[in-house]
Symmetry: C2
Subunit: 348 residues, 2 copies
């Protein structure tokens, strides 16, 4: 249930008699659907945490368990494809509990008429991505549906990973005083998909940031204590921070100018009227770190390929619990709240 | 990769430049796709077994891991719905390794416009089904795609289960001399979905057999040694037996008259020109059992609710390895081979 809830939403949401695109946005409607329909039906302590993964006891081991369906369109976009997303996305959801990936499953729903060449290219990309993560795809499933009963190809990957002893990372574990560290620029993935989908060639070129993050997390764990971790995929950085603030009942203060956005991405967002804070990333993480450990963790992050551009973007505070404040560049303050509607559908 | 391969297929299959419905049949085209595309790309020892689940070592525990996407249409059919199938199907794939279910994940792909009432009914059915199995849905995902980019609702469930010590059940572990036991009537599920889809009201009524099988398997394990187990879902009993014969390199001889088919189901199959041997079941299993244990296992099966109609249907033999012979009721012998084409698309 990645990025699937918000406790910062004060207004009762409109009831819907059918599923609408916004229910898949990772924003307020998704949160409502999860809170009002799925959570009451399936209620149990692990699901209630609404972390990106459940951590299950198996003998004396703690096993992280996570699943995601990938429905991105188009299947291939600048900097990546659905196959890489499916592998890295699940490896990253495991990593957000501190877990190293143990194995993956992959279930394919294919539309009749899907060119075999495209399927083969996606499968080859998954194979390369899995090898890059040192993880095997050990079981799977294939289904075919009639034309117009699916859009080419959907992939659901599920992962198991081993959580190191002594680790207790959770969206509900952030503490006042924690330093908020972001591992690099935001909104690259969403705008890369958007540019390909809309056929817009933004100046400078925009590439998806899709990459695995488990090695970055391992380096961070070795450097100091981590309280909360999220990879801000669907819903973007803004949603992840709001979720952590809500689940941990802390306030958060962010500096807008501290949040790095590549120039062409910023330009594209301005052109299309899209807030980069709520655009999907596929290779970044945000961490809430004990202030005594923040320096060491930041240095460890910058020493990795994936975290070279890591930077401090804010701090958790005792004041205004569950509320995220963004200090704007002109000195104002904005309350960060989840968008109600879908900014960019089918981004992952 | 349930029901996804056949070593009995002697003829080179036609190459396809696009995915066709037959690639999802669980028959020869599915087998070809898995063997020629997925297996070479993802190759690893666990996947190569092509069991319905992978068994992964976690500390000193053996964890069964399995995934399936459910794309059945309609969502509700006589005797069940997609939600029950998604829970029982994954519990049963775990059970086929002897495992008791530990936890499930569920990923939902919803079509824009799906009535919220239908979604709620499916989710409620999943909740009841999970409770009936004593298993929790501990993590999940929700995605929404535009109208005509999916057909209402697809659900992918993945399960973890603990394999009891000393158990080594595998499709590749059948031995000559093994007794083949079937837990009840065949083809109920497929013909129930078919009757609802085609709006045919068969005399006598036909209900899906969807039910969990882990308690039946536990009773069998307590009674004696099991070599191979399969729940003959997509592809039916014929496919499961051909797969076990192929993977274990044994011959199999079946008595056609020993295989129970309910009268209305037999009538419906005859009317529609469908072979019940290749029609999906969702609450039956076929077991290859050491001959010394067969009597005790059969009695234990009949003592359970799920296995009350269990019966011996044949035997594994040394002769004609990988070939399945069916003795017909009029005294002839037919070689059982997987159908090339789709009999009943989107049955699970």
């Amino acid at each position: 249930m990645a990025a699937d809830f918000s406790l910062t939403c004060p207004v009762p949401l409109t009831r819907h008699s059918t599923v609408v695109m916004g229910h898949g946005s990772g924003g307020r409607l998704t949160a409502q659907l999860v809170r009002e329909l799925f959570l009451p039906a399936f209620d149990n302590p692990l699901l209630r945490k609404l972390d990106d993964q459940a951590v299950v006891d198996v003998g004396s081991s703690r096993v992280a368990f996570t699943t995601d369906s990938f429905v991105v369109t188009p299947l291939f976009f600048p900097g990546g494809n659905i196959g890489e997303l499916a592998v890295y996305g699940t490896v990253n959801d495991l990593a957000m509990s501190g877990a190293a990936p143990l194995c993956l499953s992959a279930a394919f729903i294919m539309e009749e008429g899907l060119p075999m060449e495209e399927l083969a290219a996606v499968v080859a990309a998954m194979s390369t991505a899995a090898a890059k993560c040192g993880v095997a795809i050990v079981t799977g499933d294939t289904k075919v549906v009639n034309r117009r009963s699916a859009d080419k190809l959907f992939i659901t990957t599920t992962g198991m990973g081993i959580v190191p002893e002594g680790t207790a990372i959770s969206a509900s574990n952030a503490k006042p005083g924690d330093v908020v560290i972001l591992s690099g620029t935001i909104a690259d993935h969403g705008m890369a998909v958007m540019s390909r989908r809309e056929g817009i060639d933004f100046e400078g070129g925009i590439l998806s940031d899709t990459q695995p993050l488990h090695r970055l997390v391992a380096a961070m764990l070795a450097a100091g204590e981590l309280h909360a971790l999220r990879d801000p995929t669907r819903g973007g950085l803004g949603t992840s921070i709001c979720e952590i603030a809500g689940a941990s009942k802390v306030g958060v203060e962010l500096g807008s100018s501290a949040i790095p956005v590549r120039e062409p991405v910023r330009g594209a967002c301005e052109l299309l009227g899209i807030d980069p804070l709520f655009v999907a990333n596929e290779g970044k993480l945000v961490a809430f770190v004990h202030p005594d450990a923040a320096g060491a963790v930041l240095r460890a992050m910058r020493d990795t390929e994936e975290g070279r551009e890591s930077t401090i973007i804010g701090r958790a505070v005792e004041q205004h619990p569950e509320v995220v404040l963004l200090k704007t560049e002109i000195g104002g303050t904005r309350i960060l709240d989840l968008p109600l509607h879908e900014q960019l559908p089918r981004i992952c």
